[in-house]
């Protein structure tokens, strides 16, 4: 029986495909992300559905149940208790695994603080790729671009170009609220 299980696992491992993508991304500050976002919200990842599309490529459909909106688009408003769906490449379906370095990783059931924009197909994408997603843990917002494998490029204070690898960034909710308030006072909302 054990041998059968091992054999099946080996066959499955042989069938599994993997992919890797890497990208060069412009680095954004929280203020940049706030300014660029169409919607900023706190919500729960209620489901992640992966399916194969476009000649064998796995795509994820991530549903977020909105708990609170911090930035809204008056021309196309969202409301608390609405759901949005983020569509992105990645995940595992039909024994094909797609691991994308620079895209954000969602976990079902997790609470997130996320800045998004709607695309032309009605789905949403995260601002700045992995930069626009914070996981909420014990009232702290945690953004992890260290595991994203992305090369970030920023313009330094004296105009020079600076390259940075990803990092783990922590910020308290009240600090983020201050940044949101500052953006409101600058009438960015």
């Amino acid at each position: 029986m054990k041998l059968y299980v091992i054999k099946r696992a080996l066959v499955l491992m042989t069938l599994l495909s993997s992919t890797a993508f890497a990208s060069t991304v412009m680095g954004l500050s929280d203020e940049d992300i706030i300014a660029r976002a169409q919607y900023i919200m706190k919500g729960t990842v209620s489901s992640i559905y992966t399916t194969i599309e476009k000649a064998g490529t796995p795509f994820q459909y991530i549903t977020i149940d909105i708990q609170k909106l911090y930035k809204n688009d008056p021309s196309s408003p969202l409301y608390e208790l609405d759901k949005i769906v983020i569509r992105q490449m990645g995940g595992t379906a039909n024994n094909v695994t797609l691991d994308i370095d620079s895209l954000q990783k969602f976990t079902e059931g997790s609470e997130v603080f996320v800045s998004v924009k709607q695309d032309r197909n009605g789905y949403y994408y995260v601002i700045g790729n992995s930069q626009g997603l914070y996981k909420i843990v014990n009232e702290k917002l945690i953004n992890n671009t260290q595991d994203a494998g992305t090369a970030f490029v920023r313009q330094g204070e004296s105009g020079q170009i600076v390259f940075e690898p990803g990092k783990i960034k922590e910020i308290k909710m009240e600090q983020m609220q201050k940044k949101l308030d500052a953006a409101t006072s600058r009438e960015e909302f």
Binding site: A20, T24, M26, D99, D101
Partner: protein, 270 residues
């Protein structure tokens, strides 16, 4: 004098250590088995003359080919049979394309900040499909060094980004060495030449494709020569990005070990 010699020994040992990493596919054991990896190029939508795009992509490929003393990358055709919208498809066609509608083709990437995407598909032994998509909707590409130097954003220099993305196509992740083309933390806007670490990484991938060292996902080797094999691997990385941490840890570990030995030796000599 003795301390100077010991310090020299430490530096010499440190400088021989490499910091390249492998991307997720290469870590799973997949390798290109047939070289050159031939890619179709569609220069349309780049905003540049086709011949100029071809010249620059050829230059970037030549840098890798010259670096490893083997033709590992080549352009198989320059035409419009590949497009950005089909570039990511797992269809066995390696492609280099430009997307002027990156918002539609981005597939979850933020089109305003993503400069280019490069990668490949593979199984546990073979790499089967590779692609590079340049974002020409948000990025103004240039092939002129002077113009590129004056642009406000790094992503404008096509050859620099092509060199980096082609490294991903071969199977490399990001390097811990800032001067490397595969670094995620470079300090120069234009990097059109490979560092030794890039070359070592590519050689490692080619060697392991020939059966010298496969499958374990190691992206960290102290010797990238053809005969290196498994014996040269001194640390294993865990991923393209998380693997960077592993590579750095290994880079630090060896000098620290040497330092401890050196201090002990100094005490003995004193």
């Amino acid at each position: 004098m003795k301390k100077t010699l010991i310090l020299g020994l430490i530096l010499a040992t440190s400088s021989s250590i490499h910091a390249y990493t492998l991307n997720a596919v290469a870590q799973s054991g997949a390798r290109w088995k047939n070289f050159p990896v031939s890619m179709r190029l569609n220069p349309a939508n780049s905003g540049l003359p086709s011949a100029e795009v071809q010249r620059v992509i050829t230059n970037a490929m030549s840098s890798w080919n010259t670096g490893v003393s083997e033709e590992v990358l080549a352009i198989s055709a320059v035409n419009n049979t590949v497009t950005a919208s089909t570039g990511m498809d797992m269809d066995g066609i390696n492609s280099i394309t430009f997307s002027s509608s990156f918002r539609e083709d981005s597939n979850g990437f933020d089109p305003d900040v993503t400069v280019a995407i490069g990668g490949q598909y593979g199984n546990d032994s073979d790499m089967v499909d590779a692609f590079i998509i340049f974002n020409s909707e948000s990025v103004a590409w240039s092939t002129d060094r002077a113009i590129s130097s004056n642009k406000s954003l790094y992503g404008d220099d096509l050859e620099t980004i092509a060199l980096h993305e082609l490294g991903h196509v071969l199977g490399l992740g990001h390097s811990q060495i800032n001067t490397a083309a595969m670094s995620a933390a470079r300090t120069s806007r234009i990097v059109r030449d490979l560092a030794q670490d890039d070359i070592d990484g590519a050689k490692y991938l080619i060697n392991s494709a020939n059966g010298a060292a496969t499958g374990s996902g190691n992206g960290y080797s102290s010797d990238a020569s053809r005969s290196a094999g498994c014996g040269s691997i001194v640390n294993s990385n865990t991923g393209n990005s998380s693997g960077n941490t592993g590579g750095m840890a290994a880079m630090m570990l060896i000098p620290i070990t040497v330092l401890v030995f050196a201090r002990k030796r100094v005490r003995e000599l004193n």
